[in-house]
């Protein structure tokens, strides 16, 4: 187990470094930040002056190292518009994103996991078929359209829920449903197949054969083993969850990190873009790392047996 954790940690560190390189190159090589900052009428002297001020006239490697050193201190520079620290802006928006993703996860998993387990137990039943059809539909759903349709229905026509913004529980309902619909289909399908895999194992047949009550078989023998794929699914989904949050926050004008990033991208506020891309990517790396460790700990074959692979 310690060897495995150390390996994963090393891999995660490598990924973090790669993330910093890609984010840096994206904004420094693909586009010239100075040209984005200055009006088109700016003279060459102005361009050179600003480059010098921002340290953009130095060799690329030195610029990257400076960027990395600053980033390690949580310093991504200042927003080009508000002059506030980009990192402070991101942290300020974090609670809203956490609130939304948590609520969306609760909605999504609250529907998907029970449905997935039931569909596996009652394989081929009407419930199984209906939930499969629902999952296919949900997976094809462009959730930015779903969000707008929910707003039109509940905020404009029925006038029962607010259309956008954050504040009360009522504000949270439509965004959470939208994000939940994004998460639920894949979670449902993976839970169902994970549960089906477990249910066909020999030890389940043995338990049934020796006359163990069906409820005990399902909850004690099956679900406990299905927990491993389910935890894995939760971790895997985290990257998707943030992707969904980007869409949901944009549609509902939810004041989170993702909508901050989208706004920064549209206004070429590159310190904020860099900061939020790195921040969100690191969050994904961290959650994936924790998931792998949690799965290793849940699975005695890995916890006690040393190495995987």
């Amino acid at each position: 187990m310690p060897v495995y954790v150390a390996q994963r940690l090393l891999q995660a560190l490598f990924v973090c470094l790669g993330i910093s390189v890609i984010t840096f190159l994206l904004l420094h090589v693909a586009g010239d930040p100075v040209l984005l900052l200055l009006p088109q009428s700016a003279s060459d002297a102005d361009v050179a002056l600003l480059k010098q001020k921002l340290g953009l006239d130095r060799p690329l490697v030195l610029q990257y190292l400076a960027f990395l050193a600053d980033a390690l201190h949580g310093d991504f520079g200042q927003s080009l518009f508000t002059q506030e620290s980009a990192f402070a802006l991101i942290l300020e928006r974090m609670p809203a994103t956490l609130e939304l993703t948590l609520a969306g996860t609760l909605v999504g998993l609250g529907v998907a996991i029970p449905l997935g387990v039931l569909a596996a137990i009652k394989r081929g039943s009407i419930l199984d078929r209906l939930s499969t059809v629902g999952a296919v539909g949900g997976q094809a759903m462009p959730i930015f359209w779903l969000g707008i349709m929910l707003i039109i229905l509940f905020a404009v026509k029925l006038r029962v829920l607010p259309a956008s913004g954050r504040g009360t529980l009522a504000h949270l309902i439509l965004p959470a449903i939208t994000l939940g619909v994004y998460l639920a289909p894949l979670t449902m399908r993976l839970t169902r197949s994970g549960m089906l895999d477990v249910l066909t194992q020999d030890y389940i047949r043995t338990a049934r054969a020796k006359g163990v009550v069906e409820g005990v078989v399902l909850f004690k023998h099956a679900l406990r083993n299905a927990a491993i794929p389910i935890v894995t699914i939760l971790g895997i989904q985290f990257g998707r969850l943030l992707g969904g949050a980007i869409v949901t926050e944009t549609v509902f004008a939810w004041p989170g990190v993702a909508s901050l990033a989208v706004k920064a991208i549209r206004t070429y506020d590159y310190p904020v873009v860099q900061g939020s891309v790195v921040f969100l990517a690191l969050l994904i790396v961290l959650v994936n790392l924790l998931t792998d460790v949690a799965v290793a700990w849940l699975d005695p074959r890995i916890r006690l047996g040393g190495d995987r692979d």
Binding site: I19, F144, I148, V156, I233, G243, I265, N288
Partner: protein
Amino acid sequence: MTKVQRLRPLAVGGVVLVIAIGAAALAPLIAPHDPYAQAVGLRLIPPVWDVGGSWSNILGTDPLGRDLLSRIIYGARISISAGALAVTVSMILGVLMGLLAGYYGGRVDTVISNAVNLMLAFPFLLLALAAVAVIGPGFRNMVIVLGVTGWPIYTRVVRAETLKYREREFILAARALGLGSPRIIWGHVLPNLVNTIIVMSSLEVARMIILESFLSFLGLGIQPPTPSWGAMLGEGRVYMFTHWWLAAFPGLAIFITTLGINLFGDGLRDLLDPHRVLAAATARTE
């Protein structure tokens, strides 16, 4: 399930696809109006079943008096070609790298696998958004960005499959006969992966269409006045409090198309490649 039941998704998806591709190809023949023709007197007419609707503009008109149905029919051209092109780019890149990593192993595999892990750690959407913002909006740039960011999912699956085949007898036999590696990869490994790649690509087209729509929705993709479903949905959002149809129908077009493609892809999977490896392998994306 009977064979007919198993083929049903494939048939339904196929029909939807034929309709969408047909609309795209025959747009000038079937669209009732010119999608660019503005008419001040015909602004914001509701759909035909609503009060004030008319048969000449079945799905209503937009704020410039343009016919919504005609714009949606023309919009199919953008979505379908953007989806297909982006998938072609990412498929070629991803399959090539997957074959190299799986067949050669060693250092090649280490480099490629680490690159895949790196790409999958990124919030894909954010990366695509940032890249489009940097290199500028428009059809070509959007296809490039989606294509170049979409490859890791193919690499992951193709690498795993190639590993499986590498030690099989027919590959060893080919090697013993003195065939070179490129010829073995091209002539003996790749043909075994074709089914997997076709199924994966068809499902990816749907994902790319949604991503394309979202980029255009944000104003980072197709630029006005070109009719694209995402951009129309973005325009319609501004009017959602007063004129619901402007957002409803373009989004419905996206939904029906992606649903059709997903059904078709799932049906293909059942037909060509009954094992479930693909589902698990494709889960760690987006």
